[in-house]
């Protein structure tokens, strides 16, 4: 069973629907006991970092996610879930979980696209990921595969060793980060067509050592 963590941060049904489509039993739950029992955990989220951290604390999930990570349970972060895994977010100056050391920064509206036009914020649409470190969850990724992004802030881990993949939008940023049994994407694999479904499937089969 895969637990999709429900901490009242946006609509999480799309992740669950994608897992249903792939044939992986899953449950959308905020119950710590059910999450602890699950074989693997997906930590999604849409919304703001401040509100998300408040919800996690209220539901008693902020310490649980760290302990699941220490136990070695496979965890997939998505979008806001990924940002929360870092130490701090510039969004409402929010202290986050700190599983990966680093900051979440806002895109700079002074940045320019490759064609010289000013970037639009949020970064919304399809973009590529260039792989910096081979990872089982990224297996089968083709160079021209693209993923669906919707975000105004981006992960900026301290250690380059934890950057699995990067994306260019005005600047190059870490769009896939990871540490041991944790992998986290800034994009939405559940909305990224075949490439995204392939990544989800890889995660569902992943056996971190």
């Amino acid at each position: 069973m895969i637990a999709v963590i429900d901490y009242e941060a946006g609509n999480l049904t799309s992740v669950s629907r994608a897992l249903d489509y792939l044939g992986y039993p899953n449950t959308v739950t905020g119950d710590p006991a059910a999450i602890s029992r699950a074989e693997r955990v997906i930590f999604p989220g849409v919304g703001s970092a401040g509100a998300a951290m408040e919800s996690l604390k209220r539901l008693g999930l902020h310490t649980l996610i760290r302990s699941l990570w220490q136990e070695g349970k496979p965890i997939l972060g998505i979008c806001l879930g990924t940002q929360i895994i870092l130490g701090h977010s510039e969004e409402h100056d929010t202290a986050c979980l700190g599983i990966i050391d680093g900051n979440v920064r806002m895109f700079d509206s002074a940045d320019r696209e490759d064609d010289g036009s000013p970037i639009k914020i949020p970064h919304m649409g399809w973009n590529r990921v260039s792989v910096k470190k081979d990872h089982p969850v990224l297996a089968g990724l083709k160079h021209d595969d693209e993923f669906y992004f919707v975000h105004s802030y981006y992960p900026d881990p301290v250690s380059a060793d934890q950057v699995i993949g990067t994306t260019c939008y005005g600047r190059e940023f870490a769009s896939v980060i990871g540490s041991d049994n944790l992998l986290a994407t800034q994009f939405h694999p559940e909305k990224s067509g075949r490439a995204g479904l392939n990544l989800l499937k890889n995660f569902c089969e992943w056996k971190p050592c």
């Binding site: 609509n11 799309s14 249903d20 949020p122 919304m124 399809w126 909305k191």
Partner: protein, 259 residues
């Protein structure tokens, strides 16, 4: 760099895709779930559903369509048409749509944009604008006016001012439809599209007038649009989504080519 998006648009009447003759003589052209799956498999980057069901009692049919689409395709899709309240928005988003678009309801009650953005996030709220060229006047300084009811009712609102206001109220994207170009198949309204795109910070989807792949090239380059809506040029098999994307890619427009 972001890819430009190609977005098929399906008009849905009482659960069936129809030819876009609104409110009368609806011609059935297929099941919206089947058509969405076909476009998804062909590499469409997003899909827009526009519910033209007139009867309020039959609107729950659309929610069922949205739910079945969400189980079938794994790219973003938006739903518009008849969205008037926060509850209408919630129903569509919970059924699995990524975004919801408001058009005439926002003209009548701009606060719906702010309420929707606050409740669900800016990225969920698309401001749909129907625009007609009327010439420059003191009340319409851009020369483009907001209209509703398929262009029959002029609202006395300047399109550029409305686009900026929509952005300030929290819209995450604009779907800009030229009533003049709509259905003509002679190309998008490039002047209007460039005017709006260059004066807002949020993405603009161009709509109305697509008949040839070259029209998409024009609106994504000279028109500065972030995305282009297409309907009849793919619905009747004149072109396929891969043909259009390959054409644009070959002419140097950034496209998502792996799907």
């Amino acid at each position: 760099m972001l890819s430009r998006r190609i977005i098929p648009c399906l008009d849905v009447h009482e659960g069936r895709t129809t030819k876009g003759i609104k409110f009368k003589d609806n011609i059935d052209i297929g099941d919206p779930v089947d058509m969405a799956r076909m476009y998804y498999e062909q590499g469409a980057d997003e899909i827009v559903f526009y519910d033209i069901t007139a009867s309020h009692e039959k609107r729950n049919i659309m929610i069922d369509v949205v739910r079945r689409v969400a189980e079938t395709i794994f790219i973003p899709f938006s739903v518009g048409g008849g969205i008037r309240t926060l509850e209408d928005m919630r129903a569509v988003l919970l059924a699995g749509a990524e975004k919801v678009s408001v058009n005439s309801a926002a003209v009548n009650n701009p606060d719906i944009i702010r309420q929707g953005a606050r409740a669900f996030g800016n990225q969920c709220v698309v401001l749909g604008m129907d625009v007609k060229h009327v010439g420059v006047s003191p009340s319409i300084p851009s020369g483009y006016e907001i209209v509703i009811n398929g262009g029959r009712k002029h609202m006395g609102i300047d399109a550029l001012e409305w686009a900026k206001r929509g952005q300030d109220l929290g819209a995450g994207e604009i779907c800009l439809n030229s009533i003049d170009a709509d259905g003509m198949k002679t190309g998008y309204e490039l002047t209007l599209t460039a005017l709006i795109s260059q004066n807002v910070d949020i993405p603009v989807i161009a709509s109305g007038g697509a008949g040839e792949p070259e029209h998409l090239y024009d609106v994504l380059t000279r028109g500065k649009a972030d995305a282009a809506l297409i309907a009849s040029m793919v619905h009747y098999g004149t072109y396929t989504v891969p043909q259009i994307k390959t054409y644009l890619h070959d002419r140097g427009v950034k496209m998502r080519m792996g799907w």
